[in-house]
Subunit: 313 residues, 2 copies
């Protein structure tokens, strides 16, 4: 087979997924390995190279234009993963250089949300858009901002940290050490924190009370689907915090659309309806009724692989 | 003279300034006329064309590549001034088309803060920068965001409304009808509002008390320079609100520098020292000590003319 391919690698906190992608954005082969459980980062690199080798040989290395990696705190400019709190290894990891040497391929790196934004722009809901925001709602909140058809990396390669704008001044403690970050409220973890806080303070009847201490975002989603008022109010509150912050972002980059991706986005309209309502309520007049809120149509793992692979073209 | 020239026009609430600019960014001729006092917008257009005519004839129309206009609420994509609260005419004004017909030149429009950002990028403090934010602190707060070497216009041409991000949730009423906008605090008007509010509630000794009701930003600046504690606290408070909002903006576009322009920026370190302190205090770790705060070195009127003229090249 002689069609040109690009290798896309998505490194998550638990799993690493990869795939070979053709020019049309079709994943022609894919595989995965655990991110965790290796004794050191160099053991992980060896395991990753070993897992990739058969795919590269089958496709023919001469047909692979290069590899793109999406990883938390991945820096496009330096090719390093820098102090990623959700990965097993800390410090600065020169992953692009190391993997390029071991695979004999050109390797580029970006962060996972940026990779998803590129995936949406090339193959997904943002196809043909020049100005949009991709928001990932998972364990944390990530984002990729695209303006003038280009991803905003910023001067240091770390732009797009929507999860760390202050949504509530002097609010909840965030994993980053500051208070009130959007991520502390509008992530899967954030909505669970809201649930646990409310259960301490309130006495409403809710199916979630039985799970106090072990509530998950999925449970809240299911309870809301069954009409549980407490769970619906949690989505309303989460949507309010997120909608308010997005209204501010619209004033800065005036996107055509905001695309939602990741675990908490699976709640769909349960979340997006309140986000839309509060975003519009809080928005400067000239921006009202212009910005589409769209749930990503790409499967989570695929968008990340597609986006990462797109770096290599 | 055969050097190519561009015409730059800066429309302010009170005055309209214009100049002919060469490729090196030198203003070779300039003039102005009042923006106010005309019976209608078409009278203003006639007066503007009349004022420009001798400059165009002297330079030779064949040497002028075109004209750029910077105006509040000017839209780059449509060439229209749209509902500008600080201009004497309301509604939608198709200024680029009208002036192009009357001058026989290509005419492009953008908003005043965007024009200043382009001026700084081509000829001023942002020369050679690919990622920066220009903040104008005048009657209101305006901004131009540059990423990947390009101004962010957004999908509708209205991007960069930093003055209307919510700095204080449920805070002061803003001219836009919402509450707590940055502009209601960090503009020349905003610091005066703070002064008047504090004088109602507090009894500190301050030289400003004698001027209650007619305080200006300039008076606060002068009082602070003389060491008046109340005036210094006003700058600290204003710098805190602005610094907090800028910390959020840095997380989004990760600029190399933020450049300050306009009346209140003349206070220099009185304002920029607290802005810097609170921005750093509120910033996500990875961005700390990376972003320069710079006062524009171009004279206010010149930067706007230079930036507007740059649209025409």
């Amino acid at each position: 087979m002689t069609q040109p391919l690009a290798l896309g690698i998505d490194i998550g906190g638990t799993n690493t997924c990869f795939g070979l992608v053709n020019r049309r954005g079709e994943i022609v082969a894919k595989g995965n390995l655990p991110t965790t459980g290796h004794n050191s980062v160099s053991d992980y690199f060896s395991a990753l190279a070993l897992a990739l080798q058969p795919y590269i040989e089958t496709a023919g290395k001469e047909n692979i234009t290069g590899a793109g990696i999406g990883a938390p705190n991945g820096n496009f400019f330096t090719g390093e993963i820098v102090f990623a709190p959700n990965l097993p290894w800390h410090g600065v990891i020169p992953i692009a250089k190391t993997m390029s040497e071991s695979l004999g391929l050109k390797v580029l790196l970006t962060n996972d949300a940026n990779a998803a934004a590129i995936g949406e722009m090339m193959y997904g809901a943002a196809k043909g858009m020049k100005d949009f925001i991709l928001v990932t709602l998972g364990t944390g909140v990530g984002s990729g901002f695209v303006a003038n058809g280009e991803l905003i990396y910023g001067n240091d390669g770390f732009a797009g940290e929507l999860g760390h704008v202050i949504a509530v001044r002097d609010g909840r403690k965030c994993g980053c050490g500051r208070n009130g970050c959007l991520e502390a409220y509008a992530s899967a973890t954030g909505i669970v924190r809201s649930a646990n806080e409310w259960l301490e303070e309130r006495n409403d009847s809710t199916v979630l009370r039985a799970h106090k201490g072990s509530i998950t975002a999925k449970m809240i989603h299911e309870a809301a689907e069954q009409g549980d008022a407490f769970a619906l109010e949690l989505f309303d509150f989460t949507g309010k915090i997120l909608g308010q912050s997005l209204a501010d972002m619209v004033a800065i980059t005036s996107p055509q659309a905001i695309i939602f991706f990741g675990g908490l986005a699976h709640a769909g309209d349960l979340l997006l309806r309140p986000v839309h309502k509060y975003m519009e309520e809080n928005m400067l007049n000239i921006f009202k009724n212009k910005v589409d809120l769209i749930r990503s149509a790409l499967p989570d793992a695929d968008a990340a692989i597609l986006g990462a692979s797109a770096l290599a073209w």
